[in-house]
Symmetry: C2
Subunit: 246 residues, 2 copies
């Protein structure tokens, strides 16, 4: 499998953004951050707070003077940009780009992200092998720096086959046996019949619809026990109402 | 096609987060925001700045007292949660969840996002039809509120078939004709032969490798003109060096 790509921020300005980039990287298992000539120096006040715990990424961040130096040791470089640059390079979304990156076994890959306002210069883009852009709404295309990094990390993790969900929805109690279901349905139908719920000619079809509803619930043993209890309570109550004690 | 899902923030606290949620929504074409009992009231100071322009989402935001009221008019509700709740509901990632949502033509869908610290309560999760969770790194699973919304919006836009990239990488100048390529390659080989670059016995194989390199560049007419000029300049210089003027 390919190693996680390096995130390279070119002249980032706001501590909040750099911290949130570190957090977004950590969320999807990216750890190597490079900063090219951060505006107003480095480290920045407030950056650790913004990283809310992703300090290992910030502590490992390396500062470079130029983009050329920041990418010198890399084998493949992507440039993120929101607009056409008249540069004839391959342009893909983060999904396709990361699928490509994931196939580059043994290669060091870096992804360039531009300045908050101005993005990357055309000269900086020209240093990249390909361009990554995001399928944003044309009505509101301006993506925050950390959110561009987040989408790249999300797609890298998926492309690398690491995207497991933190938990699954499997049943905590086993599905009810068909016998338990049949018995519950039987009890319900009897109670309803006693309660005069069914117009005689409609009993069959109404009962079938209710069976369908109950089976759509994909009940567990526990669910069946709960409904049995509820049914018993209602039925008992109805009897008391029907024949009040002296 | 299904309409865009409603984003419902339950007791959100920080203006920065709500503003960034609005921005993330606008980035992917979501516009309907609902707020359940925002902490410390609404509107919040600084929220518009954090939305950096996505004010149409904030202006349309509606405040509700309870989750029940916020979802009353919806047909299908998803709850986002980072951890197992012992609730037997379908659990999917944002990609699968949004593919399902995109098929719900004519249904109003809402997605619940919990408090910054505590998330959603189990009672709130129990009001949802299914659970959405994110394939984050187990080492750093804490996803910022706006970033969870961003991933849902990104996947919804893709599932709805709206995810066009803002520009493509198509060539701005047509690919060079094979004739132009052959002629460039010919000139290069002649110049190199004249310059004594080829060991005679190796000329064929070296020439073939260079042809392969040049074709890998997928050159345009413009590229060919540029390289022709460069070659001419080098060749001229070499001649001058070889036979200096008196």
């Amino acid at each position: 499998m390919s190693s996680a790509p390096v995130v390279i921020l070119v002249e980032p300005q706001l501590a909040e953004n750099i911290g949130m980039v570190a957090r977004a990287m950590a969320n999807f298992g990216l750890s190597e951050l490079r900063l090219v000539a951060p505006k107003n120096g480095w480290p920045k006040k407030g950056v650790r707070e913004a990283a809310s715990g992703a300090t290992h990424v910030l502590d490992g961040a390396v500062v470079y003077a130029t983009v050329g130096q920041a990418i010198a040791d890399l084998n493949y470089v992507l440039a993120t940009t929101a607009r056409e640059r008249g540069q004839m390079k391959r342009v893909t979304g983060p999904d396709e780009a990361m699928r490509d990156v994931a196939t580059r076994t043994g290669q060091r890959v870096g992804i360039l992200f531009g300045r908050e306002r101005a993005g990357l210069s055309n000269d900086e883009v020209s240093l990249a092998d390909a361009i990554v852009t995001f399928p944003v709404s044309p009505d509101f295309p301006s993506l925050n720096l950390a959110q561009g990094v987040l989408l790249v990390g999300y797609e890298w993790r998926r492309a690398a086959g690491l995207a497991q969900l933190p938990f699954s929805g499997e049943m905590l109690s086993p599905p009810a046996t068909r016998e338990a279901m049949a018995s519950l349905v039987g009890t319900l139908e009897e109670s309803l019949a006693e309660a005069g719920f069914y117009p005689p000619e409609k009993r069959e079809i109404i009962a079938r619809n209710m069976r369908d509803m109950l089976h759509r619930m994909a009940m567990t043993e526990q669910d069946v026990r709960t409904l049995r209890g509820a049914l018993k309570a209602l039925h008992g109550r109805r009897s008391r109402v029907a024949s009040p004690r002296p």
